[in-house]
């Protein structure tokens, strides 16, 4: 079975949810610990949401210097799929695996909502299972989710098709170009602010037109990686 590691940092909150998502997608979740130098030979890596180290410096800044992050950087360079969700996205930018950064929401408050997104790029390790331009709904919950990058970087991301997810209907945190998630040039490293791991199980996801809490759009993010690994 394809094994996907989920790294737990002190202050990680959605690590259990990420493991459940991997299991429901058909993979084998593997617990990884921030203080180790060992990736346990996993096929892909998820950096989960939360408030690592209390986010007392900048979000994700201290986690980016955790022992295991050196291994993550090496693995990313080898092409191993890496997904950073929310706080994990912040870590990936702090570790310079992804460009730009995340700042406090423009309205100043934490926001939790069912967020409609467009899947802008399907040429990444984590979005291969979507149709280009497909609209999905996954929960969003953050206080510092405003994506920011200089104009050149944003233009490059847009030109190279590296904007992976874009907010629809409303930009919930003041992100530039409504950017919800981006990829590295190779497409194996993806970071996004919304939480696909919270839309994987009927009964516990966002509401849909068909039934309460039945949204499972996030499941395909994890399936995309599993299928990609199998095909490789």
């Amino acid at each position: 079975m394809t094994r996907i590691g989920v790294i737990t940092f002190p202050g990680s909150l959605d690590d259990g949810d990420a493991r459940r998502a991997i299991r429901l997608a058909g993979g084998e979740p593997v617990r990884l610990w921030h203080g180790d130098h060992d990736l346990d030979g996993v096929d892909a890596i998820v950096l989960p949401g939360g408030f690592s180290y209390g986010d007392y410096l900048r979000c994700g800044a201290i986690a980016a210097h955790s022992p295991i992050m050196r291994e993550v950087v090496d693995a990313a360079a080898r092409g191993v799929p890496v997904l950073g969700i929310c706080n994990g996205f912040q870590m990936l930018t702090e570790a310079h695996l992804l460009p730009g950064g995340l700042v406090r929401n423009d309205h100043g408050a934490f926001v939790c909502r069912d967020q409609r997104l467009a899947v802008e790029s399907t040429r990444t390790a984590w979005t291969g299972g979507f149709e280009p331009g497909e609209q999905i709904v996954v929960p969003l919950k953050n206080g510092e989710g405003g994506y920011l990058a200089d104009a050149d970087t944003v233009a490059r991301l847009e030109d190279e098709g590296r904007v992976v997810f874009r907010y629809l209907e409303t930009d919930p945190n003041g992100s530039v170009h409504g950017i919800a998630g981006v990829a590295n040039a190779a497409g194996n490293v993806v970071g996004l602010m919304p939480h696909p791991e919270h839309a994987v199980e009927p009964g516990f996801g966002p509401d849909t037109a068909a039934a309460m809490r039945s949204g499972v759009d996030g499941l395909r993010v994890f399936r995309s990686a599993l299928e990609g690994v199998l095909a490789a």
Partner: protein, 771 residues
């Protein structure tokens, strides 16, 4: 703080200087209480002992004014009520058996006074405190809820308090990774100078993981771990929570604690790993009264004594005196009892989580709690005299002088509209009033998804959490209180709070099982307040017995007043229910077209204390709606059966705002309209249209039933003798709520009215509209 502190006040010195004047009054102790302490000790207390007694004998920690009445909860219990009760009142939190080897622990607690002085930190540490109570039982915390009462939404100071409190809860709860699944928000001028911030936490555990916080086994080590001890929150329990605010406003800020949710999150994981590894005998949280409370409670609940070296406490501020260390309410600290041979394993776990730990002392056989400082004994007491056998007061009670006149002033005589346009206008006014408006401005700041087990959250009537992933076993929790009802009749008010919370759990399909309460009142020294309290406890315990749901624990918060003006009695009642499979839960609104809407229960002319009387007429008087506990029981049984058999597409209780508010909330839940007609209700119950729409008669629920289940559902109602009238049908095409012959409102207009109220007063956020 006026602790005279130049030389250390030892037990020896206390014996030698019996005449020394002690500033006990500044610590909140009365002359009699001080005399009693001298009598217990046979000498004057040391300043350290005085500090301990003063906080532990405070109203907040000792329940000295309320204890006499709280006993009734323990007395009015049948064997059937005990059947699911694993731990009752008196421990950190009650524990209920929910089946399949699982248990649930839950409790609601107040953090009112700190939240007024410093709204952000007060509310944040309120969450932190209740979560630690849950951990102390051996449980993993899985959800929180908050019960908030603020002053007039139009007042400038309300904005300060609301912004601070909501941000504090959001900051702390979100950072802990606990979903916030419900709660209450009420605005009323009576809370202007004394907002209520109550916090509820629920935790889950396997039966075998249950722990009690007792220090047993002489030779076992007493270990303090978590955050360092600092100067924050000194005297919080005695100075803040047990005194009234003066009209001159906030001045007590240094007594408020400061919270660090990251430290608490790490502490949770650390404690759970310690339990799982069998590395601790017991864990006690440090909350109000800090080390004083933890040591005396652990020792008093154990079988021996305890000896503590206060020099071993890790300090944030090295200049703290011994008394300050004993009284500090620094957050994110826990105390464990550890067998010596397991200390190494214990330290390995705390080390892994980077949690600072220090061994303070040992469990002894002496029956005494002895504390040393710089090599000298500064505390030598029987711990039970500190923690258990505090003073008990039988305070004077008096029925409020103006109550007869208030009850005689019924809302029945107020003009009620008869024509459609006037009724429609009042409906819009009601749903646009702060207490019936959409509270998304608040709840959108809370994470309701984390942990992946949230089956229901706001705006549904109860929060629901899956406990067991394999079977789908889950629990539902709802809390309610109506201060206006309680002001009119505290006995009925408490029973109505219970009835509403019970009903809100029942509409989700869960079976109500147990109760927690947070009794928020004015100053117990006011006989009229004490009468309200006595009536409340008596009424609530009586109703718990009638519904067969035991009170498992809770909290009393007194002195909620500004100057002479007490708040309305506000008994927040939380009911926990169990559901065999959360997949069978029922939402509060309908999503499909063509469902039959049934009104269950009967409507009487009961507008006293109602939202209608408040919003339309600015009126409070008369008698609250009749308490109908037998009808509530029958209704709950019907709803559980209906949900279990899959007959219910939606169920929503009727309470504040009556049928009108319930219909509006029902169509707004999923944006699916409805056509209803009132004729049959008017005829059967002999009421006018305005009464049918706005009366707050209890034991009523609106349900949506798929047409193919209609016959079975009607049969179920008849069999269980629950009055049911087919009120209308759902309509997915119209985009309207239509009450035939009276009003037709666009759903989008209703949504805009309800949504706009809080942002207009509190400031819009760019993201929220239309979510």
């Amino acid at each position: 703080m006026t602790l005279e502190q130049t030389v250390v006040d030892t037990v020896e010195r206390a014996r030698a200087t019996p005449e020394r004047q002690q500033a006990y009054a500044a610590l909140g102790l009365t002359d009699d209480e001080y005399a009693r302490i001298r009598e217990i000790l046979g000498r004057r207390p040391t300043s350290g002992e005085l500090a301990m007694y003063s906080v532990m004998w405070s109203e907040h920690c000792s329940y000295k004014s309320s204890k006499k009445y709280l006993r009734r909860f323990g007395e009015r219990v049948t064997d059937r009520m005990r059947e699911h009760l694993m731990v009752g009142m008196g421990q950190n939190a009650g524990v209920v058996d929910v089946g399949r080897g699982w248990a649930v622990t839950f409790k609601v607690e107040s953090h009112n006074h700190p939240s007024y002085v410093e709204p952000f930190q007060g509310a944040a540490t309120g969450v932190g405190g209740i979560v630690r109570d849950i951990i102390a039982m051996g449980a993993r915390p899985v959800a929180v809820m908050d019960q908030l009462r603020f002053g007039d939404l139009a007042e400038a100071d309300t904005l300060r308090v609301v912004h601070g409190v909501v941000a504090g809860i959001s900051f702390y709860g979100n950072c802990l990774g606990l979903p916030n699944i419900g709660g209450e928000t009420v605005f009323d001028p009576v809370y202007q100078g004394n907002p209520l911030v109550n916090a509820l936490c629920v935790g889950v555990l396997k039966h075998e993981d249950l722990r009690l916080a007792n220090a047993t086994g002489a030779g076992n080590l007493v270990v303090l771990f978590g955050a360092r001890t600092g100067g924050d929150g000194i005297g919080g329990a005695s100075i803040l929570a047990s005194d009234t605010f003066t009209a001159s406003g906030p001045t007590k800020r240094p007594a408020v604690q400061v919270g660090d949710p990251f430290a608490e999150k790490v502490l949770i994981e650390c404690c759970l790993e310690l339990y799982a590894g069998g590395l601790v005998e017991a864990i006690q949280d440090l909350g109000a009264a800090g080390i004083s409370c933890a040591t005396s409670e652990l020792a008093a609940n154990g079988d021996g004594g305890m000896r503590i070296d206060l020099d071993a406490v890790l300090l944030r501020d090295p200049t703290l005196t011994a008394e300050e260390i004993l009284m500090s309410e620094s957050q994110e600290r826990m105390m464990a009892v550890v067998a010596p041979e397991r200390l190494e394993g214990f330290l390995a776990v705390t080390g892994r989580w980077d949690v600072e730990t220090s061994v303070l002392g040992t469990v002894t056989e002496t029956g005494r709690l002895e504390i040393t400082w710089h090599g000298e004994t500064i505390v030598d007491v029987d711990p039970a005299t500190v923690a258990v056998d505090g003073p008990v007061y039988d305070r004077p009670v008096a029925r409020p002088a103006g109550l007869d006149a208030l009850q005689a002033d019924s809302a029945t005589g107020l003009p009620r509209p008869a024509d459609g346009p006037a009724i429609a206008e009042q409906l819009r006014a009601l749903i646009g009033s702060p207490n019936l408006a959409d509270v998304g401005w608040i709840t959108d700041q809370y994470d309701r998804y984390v942990l992946g087990n949230t089956a229901l959250a706001f705006p549904d009537d109860a929060g629901m959490i899956r406990v067991d992933e394999e079977s789908g076993l889950g629990v539902a929790i709802a809390t309610d209180a109506n201060g206006r009802y309680s002001e009119l009749d505290p006995r009925a008010g408490a029973q109505l709070a219970l009835a509403e919370a019970y009903r809100n759990v029942a509409v989700t399909g869960a079976r109500p099982l147990a109760v927690t309460d947070c009794l928020n009142f004015g100053a117990p020294t006011n006989p009229e307040v004490m009468w309200q309290f006595a009536e409340t406890v008596d009424g609530l315990s009586e109703a718990c017995l009638a519904l067969e749901v035991p009170v498992t624990g809770g909290n009393v918060s007194l002195y909620n007043q500004t100057g002479d003006r007490a708040i309305h009695p506000t008994p927040v009642v939380g009911v926990l229910g169990v559901i065999d499979d959360v997949a069978k839960r029922v939402p509060s609104g309908w999503q499909d077209d063509g469902l039959n809407l049934y009104l269950l229960g009967e409507t009487a002319l009961e507008l006293d204390g109602s939202a209608w009387a408040q919003v339309v007429h600015g009126h409070l008087g008369g008698r609250p709606p009749a308490v109908r506990l037998e009808a509530e029981r029958a209704l709950a049984g019907l709803l559980a059966a209906g949900a279990s058999e899959g007959l219910l597409a939606a169920a929503h209780d009727l309470s504040e705002g009556g049928l009108a508010a319930t219909l509006v909330e029902g169509v707004l839940r999923f944006g699916v309209g409805a056509r209803v007609w009132l004729d049959e209700v008017l005829e059967r119950d002999g009421v006018d249209a305005a009464t049918a729409l706005f009366s707050e008669s209890t034991a009523r629920v609106l349900v949506a039933v798929p047409r193919e289940e209609d016959v079975r559902f009607v049969g179920l109602c008849a069999g269980r003798r629950v009055p049911a009238i087919r009120l209308g049908v759902t309509d997915a095409e119209s985009g309207m709520l239509e009450v035939q012959g009276l009003l037709t409102e666009r759903i989008e207009d209703l949504r805009r009215i309800r949504w706009g109220v809080l942002p207009a007063a509190l400031g819009a956020r760019s993201t929220a509209a239309g979510s």
